[in-house]
């Protein structure tokens, strides 16, 4: 009779998602995923890898192996600042930045990103602003992001906002495109229609 508590430190094949790698590889920029030789150039060149729970090299390996849950819940994908250093340096032509984007979108679709994490909120607020006006309105977008994630920070950020206003670097009104902004909404709706047709 053993009272030794054990926990598997690895995953068995049946616990992995066998379709995960293919679903990412099928997206534009994902095509070379399976060519990775695990050299680690991406991780060593990444300026944010020191903050990541899994380095880019590990994310690539885990994506290929089907560790969907771990990959999508990782902070790595949200720390990627899209500087494209890994993409340029990869000796196997893997577009690591594109793969990070694909993983971000997947995490948002499956709603597994960290709660109150500002990046997905920022992305969504940005999306809304563009849909309405055809333009991104930095001031409003960032204000909403702060209010929705860390309202107490609003006070801390007000000094910066005021300084920008005084220097004419933040518009009080809303920036709109010339012409008919509803064309943007129609264009976006049509993309959805066309994508459905294509599938």
């Amino acid at each position: 009779m053993s009272s030794l508590q054990i926990q598997a430190r690895i995953k068995h094949q049946e616990e992995l998602d066998p379709d995960f790698a293919n679903s990412i590889a099928a997206l534009p920029g994902g095509e070379n995923l399976s060519r990775c030789i695990q050299c680690g150039t991406c991780s060593s060149t990444c300026p944010v890898s020191l903050y990541m729970d899994y380095t880019p090299r590990r994310i690539i390996a885990m994506t290929r192996a089907g560790f969907k849950q771990e990959v999508l819940a990782s902070n790595t994908i949200w720390l990627c600042a899209s500087c494209y250093e890994c993409t340029v340096d990869c000796p196997r032509q893997i577009k690591v930045t594109d793969i990070m984007y694909a993983l971000k979108r997947r995490a948002m679709d499956e709603k597994v990103y960290p709660k109150r994490f500002p990046t997905p909120v920022l992305a969504k607020e940005f999306f809304k602003s563009v849909l309405k006006t055809g333009r991104s309105n930095e001031g409003l977008t960032v204000t909403w992001m702060i209010l929705k994630t860390a309202p107490l920070n609003m006070l801390k950020q007000m000094g910066l906002g005021l300084k920008l206003l005084l220097r004419g670097r933040m518009a009080l009104g809303i920036e709109k495109m010339e012409g008919d902004p509803t064309q943007i909404r129609r264009l976006m709706e049509q993309v959805e229609v066309e994508e459905k047709k294509a599938h």
Binding site: P47, C83, T87, K104, S136, L164, L187
Partner: protein
């Protein structure tokens, strides 16, 4: 060469001084560049994280609008913001590489009465100034040589990576050459293309703030008395957070960070207001020849 100008959203907001100084410099160099009528947001980094195809369609709409202005020569669309430059180039490239994407975008554009045949060339102003206008013409326009100004040229990520073919991706030179042509000294430093933190400064401040701080510290250590940037987000991160950096890192960092076009404007003798010098947080007056 026929040019159109695509400012992008940031140049109408936090990067207004980039817009003002770029337009003033075009004018001074006798370039006829008008703004692309009816332009919309390029799709940028954030949009890409929500829906990639939609982000590409947004970018492509701008290319389609630019193509409508084609005469006998194809349009060269000047995109000064690093993110816009990248996204516009990316959609151009990906529409060529991925047939499925091309079809979805072409059909969607058609539904709103637009077409794009892929003839527009997306250019960064650094490329246009150095390779089209030429350093000789730039030199000839200098009325106030920037004697004593030591410039750390900071290119950032997305101007040179991954699509730019006009400069070296690891050790770019165009901005340095421009600064020398203006009579300034180009500081040799190794972090020219290291990321400033991008949107992380706003979302994960601990990470973003330090990334910008590292750049400023290194540039100062190498003797720079000003940093030149080519991207509105880099400029914002590197300049507007210096107060916070002083508090966080207990350092007396205090380095003016200006758009490279503002520095050009200064050397061309343009009025401070016309090139948006009053919009900067860290006054450039302290730097030689910038007062």
């Amino acid at each position: 060469m026929r040019y159109l100008y695509y400012p992008g959203c940031s140049l109408k907001g936090t990067g207004k001084a980039y817009d003002e100084s770029l337009v003033a410099v075009f004018d001074k160099l006798g370039m006829d560049v008008k703004e692309l009528p009816g332009w919309n947001c390029c799709g940028a980094t954030a949009y890409m994280s929500v829906d990639e195809t939609k982000a590409f369609a947004l970018a492509a709409r701008n290319l389609a609008l630019a193509e409508q202005e084609n005469g006998s020569d194809p349009i060269h669309l000047i995109a000064p913001c690093a993110a816009c430059y990248l996204v516009l180039n990316k959609v151009q490239k990906y529409m060529g590489e991925y047939g499925h994407l091309r079809e979805v975008i072409a059909n969607s554009l058609k539904a709103v009465g637009l077409n794009y045949h892929g003839t527009v060339k997306v250019r960064h102003p650094l490329d246009v100034f150095v390779n089209d206008i030429g350093l000789d013409k730039i030199k000839a326009a200098v009325s106030h040589p920037l004697k004593g100004l030591k410039v750390a040229s900071y290119y950032g990520c997305q101007v040179v990576r991954p699509y730019a073919d006009f400069d070296n991706q690891y050790n770019p030179q165009t901005m340095d050459q421009l600064m020398k042509a203006l009579g300034a000294e180009a500081v040799d430093w190794p972090l020219k293309t290291r990321c400033c933190g991008g949107t992380l400064t706003g979302t994960v401040e601990e990470a973003g703030l330090r990334m910008s701080y590292i750049l400023l510290k290194e540039a100062s250590k190498r003797g720079a008395n000003i940093m030149a940037t080519a991207c509105p987000l880099c400029q914002f991160n590197l300049e507007c957070y210096q107060g916070k950096m002083r508090g966080t890192f207990g350092d007396s960092i205090d380095l003016p960070v200006a758009f490279f076009t503002q520095i050009m404007g200064r050397a061309f003798g343009l009025e401070a207001k016309r090139i948006g010098l009053q919009r900067l947080f860290v006054p450039v007056k302290a730097a030689p020849a910038m007062a």
